[in-house]
Amino acid sequence: MISLTSPVETWAHDVPAGVKLAALSAATVGLFALQNPIWLGVALVCAGAIVLSGGLRFARAAARSLRILIPFLALIAVWHGVTGQIEAGLVVALRLLTALTLANFVTMTTRLTDMVAVAAFLLSPLRRFGLSTRAFELSIALVVRFTPAIAQKGGLLAEAWRARAARRVGWQIVMPLAAIALDDADHVADALRARGGLDQTP
């Protein structure tokens, strides 16, 4: 559920990342304290209203990235239906949905750089022990940058396969894809080196 920062600007884009993350933590703790499905329902409606405040287009994008939760929610419903604990099931499902709606809202309205800056701040005590948080910051950015890129290259390889084969795309493209990923890693290393590598001039 890494929905990238939404290009649709909302009011929440201007709220500092630290404030949003703190509010999100508080809200999540609060959700776990609530046991009553009615109050959890109210919480979900509130979360929905917050998302809608970003506009219809924004809300639709948010709903789309939450869609992958449907199978989990269905599983919870079936399980609790079978065991007869309808209310407990409702509580779990509502809590999960509300918490993730809020988390998704924060991801969509916070630039990655700001998110990472907060994480780096929280990790800053580690620096006293000589651990670099910078490598950590960079690796998050790299994951977000290269996950779609590698997925896309897999797609291109599959296409090159289909252009010349009637059979379904086979496991044979795994090796070339791995080679491409390694090659990409080489290039990133170069790109990093071209701009000063991991060590930052103070």
Partner: protein, 235 residues
């Protein structure tokens, strides 16, 4: 600037004993595919240490002294996908600035400044992987220019771009204040440059005023075009 540079990769001599001193504002490097142009670009930018010799800018060794190299030279890779490290345009541009020691706020300010200088303020926060090839190339150029190096190395910046995109990018490159070393296999791209160096099989085949070098280069390319050297395997 380059002193007796040789590069050996595996058991191939990719560059052999190249010595060059460049002071011109615009220098073109031409040569066929595989002549060693990209390797030379990497040497100039200090991304790779030569097997022998050294690449220096104003006395600093580019491969050894990376700190000075950052302020001296910026490089635009042949393929922008190999250059872009970050998921968004802002982060890509701000990274280099923070590497130079700017804090987050200063880097953000400079990033906005360069985006608006290029009339691209609308690109704030845009995802890099969804940009077109020409747009990616421009992001890379802005990211390099933001660091204000004295020299910029461009490795075939216009290959794969359509004519209007190329013309627009050329305008941006022409306006660059820093010195430019541009690598290309297309003589038209460096027609207006001050000096052209022709690289052939890892050596300097010719070096001098643009008109003379390009005339000889084009004559030779046409002659080779009529041969069949595609059948020759390297090594």
């Amino acid at each position: 600037m380059l002193e007796d540079v040789s590069v050996r990769l595996g058991d191939v001599d990719v560059l052999s004993a190249i010595s060059l001193r460049m002071q011109e504002r615009r220098v073109g490097i031409v040569g066929r595919n595989g002549s060693g142009k990209t390797t030379l670009a990497r040497i100039i930018a200090g991304l790779q240490a030569p097997t022998r010799g050294s690449a220096r800018i104003d006395g600093d060794d580019m491969a050894r002294d990376r700190k000075s190299a950052l302020r001296a030279v910026g490089i635009l890779f042949q393929n922008p996908d190999h250059q872009i490290i970050f998921p968004t345009v802002d982060e890509e541009i701000a990274f280099g600035l923070m590497q130079l020691g700017h804090d987050r706020d200063a880097a953000a300010r400079e990033t906005s400044a360069i985006l608006s200088r290029f009339g691209k303020s609308g690109w704030h926060g845009a995802a890099t992987h969804s940009l077109s090839q020409g747009q990616k190339q421009l992001v890379c150029l802005m990211a390099v220019l933001a660091m204000r190096p004295r020299l910029i190395v461009l490795d075939e910046p216009y290959s794969g771009l359509d004519i209007p995109t190329r013309m627009q990018l050329v305008r941006y490159v022409d306006a660059v204040e820093a010195s430019v070393v541009q690598i290309t296999h297309d003589p038209d791209h460096v027609r207006a440059f001050d000096r052209v160096i022709w690289l052939d099989e890892g050596s300097v085949r010719m070096d001098g005023p643009t008109d003379e070098v390009l005339a000889a280069f084009e004559a030779q390319m046409t002659a080779w075009g009529q041969d069949d050297d595609l059948s020759d395997l390297a090594g």
